[in-house]
């Protein structure tokens, strides 16, 4: 059954995985993902540009990155999509990557995370392609910031 009010705010990946583990139907998992997406703050309108658009996504996704001047640098991400399930995936991506150093980002096994969440099975190939296009972009920024 669909839950009336799932607790959707996850502050860490562990929390996310724990919550996700409790959900056993595809309906609940999608609902959780959609709810997660709702928590992602929208990008400021000036960031909705062609340059920030992630190519390879079926729906529109915009991703901005900010690298801090600190040592080591920290990469902060913000992203938005016009599709709700994609927004949920974006939320997971932000949890995994945003606020981490380039080394941490490059060392992180994102495929393993999505496997654990069982998304890769559900996601269509075209959607996975879009997702990994986002991952690619973040990893490229991390590589440049090394």
């Amino acid at each position: 059954m669909l839950s009336e009010n799932t607790m959707t705010t996850c502050s860490s990946l562990d929390e996310l995985l724990e919550t996700f583990d409790l959900l056993d139907s595809w309906e609940e998992r999608y609902q959780f993902l959609i709810d997660l997406g709702r928590e992602v703050p929208p990008l400021p309108p000036e960031d909705i540009t062609e340059e920030n658009r992630v190519q390879g996504c079926q729906s529109n996704v915009w991703l901005t990155t900010h690298v801090t001047d600190s040592v080591p640098p920290i990469i902060e991400l913000a992203a938005q999509s016009d599709a709700q399930v994609v927004k949920g995936l974006v939320a997971v991506l932000l949890l995994a990557y945003s606020g981490h150093t380039p080394e941490e980002i490059l060392a992180f096994d994102i495929k393993d995370l999505f496997n654990k969440l069982g998304f890769t099975k559900h996601l269509s190939r075209s959607r996975s392609n879009g997702l990994f296009a986002m991952v690619q972009r973040v990893q490229n920024v991390a590589r440049e910031a090394l």
């Binding site: 599709a83 709700q84 959607r127």
Partner: protein
Amino acid sequence: MPFDVEAIRSQFPILSRPLPDGRPLIYLDNAATAQKPRRVIDKLVEVLEQYNANVHRGIHTLGSRVTEELENSRERLQRFIGATAPEEVIFTSGTTASINLVAQAWGRKFIKPGDELLLNEMEHHANLVPWQQLAQERGATLKFIPLTADGRLDMERLDGVLTAKTKLVAVTAMSNVLGTINPIGELAERAHAKGAVILVDGAQIVPQRPIDVHNPVIDFLAFSGHKMFGPTGVGVLWGRKELLQEMDPFLAGGNMIRRVWKTHSDFGDAPAKFEAGTAPIAEAIALGAAVDFIESIGWEAFHTHEQALMTRAWNQLREIPGLKIFGPGLKHRGAILSFTADGMHANDLAEILDQQGVAVRPGHHCTMPLHDWLQVPATARASFTIYNTVGEVDALCAAVQKARKIFRLE
């Protein structure tokens, strides 16, 4: 006479095959490609197992048999579209190739700077981009027939864009998104009155309504095999004989020549002139079996059944809050319904429907200018055909309702 949809379904092996996780398949993506009846599959296998050889070459037994089968298929297609002669039926790889053939072989020869090509915003990219390329190359201008608010060609404003400069009208007989059935008869008549040639994209209409290239009189008809229950990789370009005669070949090579010397060649007549290289032989032969399938059912049954499914889907979907169906009312459309639902992106909606075994297509359906005109980035498209059932229509609507629950829209 009651129509036995189960008897039709039993002819399609894929329809009784559950999805990998055991759910039944509810296939509502027929506008993208139709499933194949047993007789088409059998015909493909028959060619490959019994008389595979190249056509029009060699005099051995298999070569004669396969050539005869291919020409039989051509004649079936000729009768199917009411063409005068089998020579007017050219096998291509599909609608896209057929339209490109006309753009290259007719367009590059006859379109001059300043000429106008008349299109409209509901065209599939396959009937738009080749003309953009041609116009750029030849210095011609593209014009667009305005659309009415409900997504039909605005025939009252046709005179504003159909002029003495118009050399070609390229139009779909049925929109692959809106389902709109266009008034080809009136368009053809008015195009001809201005001395223009009319090319009809028949990809969507051919599996839905009878087509007769002489009633109304048109000049070119392009369609695909796979949307009319035939194999992929094969399609047809029909052209009026006089037009085909004055066109130069597009692809050059084997099969299309009369005599080749070291430095020049004489070309054969249509259809060989436009069939360079080895055709998709088995597929083209099996396309004849697809024609047999359609004819075995009859257009009246097709029409009645599809209208019944459409009416049911239309009535149910329109009850769903925030759901918007694009295009004209049922009177002006074939069995295609494209829609959006407030609060759910079309891609997300299609994904949630897929989880429930319902196959629809999300996206811009190769009609970006149309989606610009509709002012939506994407639509979800359900398209119905002869083997779909009332139960499947109900399942679609229930699946959309369930998606609304998942999205917390109710």
